[in-house]
């Protein structure tokens, strides 16, 4: 039973990954290209190099959110007939999609980060090990911060799923309903997260201590899980063709 579930999840995940392959190639290609050009042309860590790498990083962060809105395309392409007739619930459909989008995010950010690191190693005026002592105390915070961004991405994707599914419940103004639900859910869940963290808003966080980041991680993960569970419930109980 478990093996069957895994293979079904794998089939849905692979399908999803195949659909996102062009975007992942673009991000990877852009990161490698920018690094190579910067290394060969600039010869030092120039502001232009930083801006270019930040832009590619922005693309890597932005694309999974754009891709998450492809769920609605299943209706436009009629492939929703296939997805809904499969003997699996919304948990597997949305879960595999979420997993694939997070993979896209992790792949994109890691490849840009890796290229950036190679660039630093190649272009830094001092040997790279001289910076290690400088960076070491902040490593755990950096790792936690990265985990927070992954969970944050999961939260945004869940809100995107939820808003699209709500949008598909109405036959008219589906796009408008999707947009309104997206921003309303973001606003409401932001308030909830703020309350859970004991602050007015999430953005007004104090200093980045490991303890705070762990708490932030937990709160975002919880809110994202609730929104995803709600999306799954609506998909299973309310969505129809």
């Amino acid at each position: 039973m478990l093996a069957k579930s895994f293979s079904r999840f794998g089939a849905l995940y692979n399908k999803q990954m195949r659909e996102m392959a062009p975007e992942m190639i673009v991000i990877g290609g852009a990161a490698v290209l920018v690094s190579l050009v910067s290394y060969l042309r600039m010869g030092s860590i120039h502001t232009a190099v930083l801006i270019a790498m930040l832009m590619v990083m922005g693309l890597a962060c932005f694309l999974p959110i754009v891709s998450s809105f492809r769920l609605g395309q299943e209706w436009n392409n009629h492939t929703i007939y296939l997805m809904m007739s499969l003997p699996v619930g919304g948990g597997m459909i949305l879960g595999s999609r979420l997993a694939a989008l997070l993979t896209q995010y992790v792949f994109g950010t890691l490849i840009v980060g890796f290229c950036g690191l190679l660039l630093v190693i190649g272009l830094a005026p001092e040997p790279v090990y001289t910076y290690l002592d400088l960076v070491r105390p902040y490593l755990d915070i950096a790792v936690l911060l990265y985990l927070v961004t992954i969970v944050w991405m999961g939260y945004l994707i869940s809100v995107s799923f939820f808003s699209q599914i709500i949008g598909k419940l109405v036959s008219r103004f589906s796009g408008l309903v999707t947009i309104i639900t997206f921003f309303a859910t973001l606003w409401l869940s932001g308030k909830v997260m703020g309350l859970m963290l004991g602050q007015q808003t999430v953005i007004a966080a104090p200093d980045l201590t490991a303890q705070f980041l762990v708490m932030l991680l937990g709160v975002i993960a919880l809110v994202a899980a609730v929104i995803l569970a709600l999306s799954i419930w609506v998909y299973n109980r309310r969505v129809e063709l």
Binding site: G10, E19, S85, S171
Partner: protein
């Protein structure tokens, strides 16, 4: 057995089914006939678990159709396959979800329908896409087979191939086949039972042979007469 218990279905203010009542016996080929917008597709989508009744109840083997989706092979009217997939990839994907997938039958049908696993779904003709849809539906040994307008917009030769494939792979007594179409002439020789439907209501149903004998007419003529008198 499939049962519709006083099922009504509304899409906004549009009524697709109106107190629809039917018991579809197992192991038969059933024709669901009627004009465009009669409620045929909605009826099939309800059996496939893709639509829910606004009122009433639909039962497949006594269960909610959402639960019995693994017993139903559904061929929708629309092109529902991913255009970037090849025939082989689509078969691989679908077969993962159904324990009744029959690989030998799939290979056999692939040859019979003159299809190739390497064909990309987005790049083949409409007729070939119709055959691919049929291939992927018939490759399962499912107890229920739902065909929604399988011949719509298809040339004569392909229609014949499709009908022959259904006849060839039909497991009499074991499998229930429901064909929804407004092109009755093409499937007349195929069906055991018929349900004529108009405005979401059954206007006539019964054994195809008995109806033909009673009225001394073909099913096409019967439908014309029944629908004329109903409207």
């Amino acid at each position: 057995m499939i049962e519709f218990r006083q099922v009504s279905k509304y899409f906004g203010t549009v009524r697709a089914l109106d107190n629809f009542q039917a018991q579809l016996a197992s192991g038969r080929i059933i024709g669901l006939f009627g004009p465009n917008g009669a409620g045929k597709s909605t009826t099939l989508k309800m059996i496939a678990g893709l639509n829910r009744p606004t009122r009433g109840q639909v039962l497949v083997d006594g269960l909610n159709p959402w639960i019995t989706r693994d017993r139903v092979a559904y061929l929708p009217e629309v092109d529902h396959l991913y255009s970037w997939m090849t025939v082989g990839k689509a078969a691989g994907f679908i077969s993962t979800f159904y324990s009744d997938w029959d690989q030998a039958r799939y290979q056999d049908l692939l040859n019979y329908l003159n299809l190739d696993e390497a064909m990309k779904i987005g790049k083949i003709s409409k007729g070939q896409r119709a055959k691919v849809k049929l291939l992927l539906t018939l490759s399962r040994r499912s107890p229920y087979l739902l065909l929604d307008e399988p011949l719509s917009g298809i040339d004569v030769l392909t229609r014949e191939e499709i009908i022959n494939s259904v006849i060839r792979d039909y497991r009499e007594g074991e499998q229930t086949v429901i064909i929804s179409t407004h092109e009755i002439g093409e499937v007349e020789r195929l069906v055991d039972e018929v349900i004529f439907i108009q405005n979401g209501k059954t206007v006539l149903s019964g054994n195809a042979e008995d109806l033909r004998e009673e009225r001394n007419m073909s099913l096409v003529e019967i439908m014309k007469e029944v629908l004329r008198s109903a409207s």
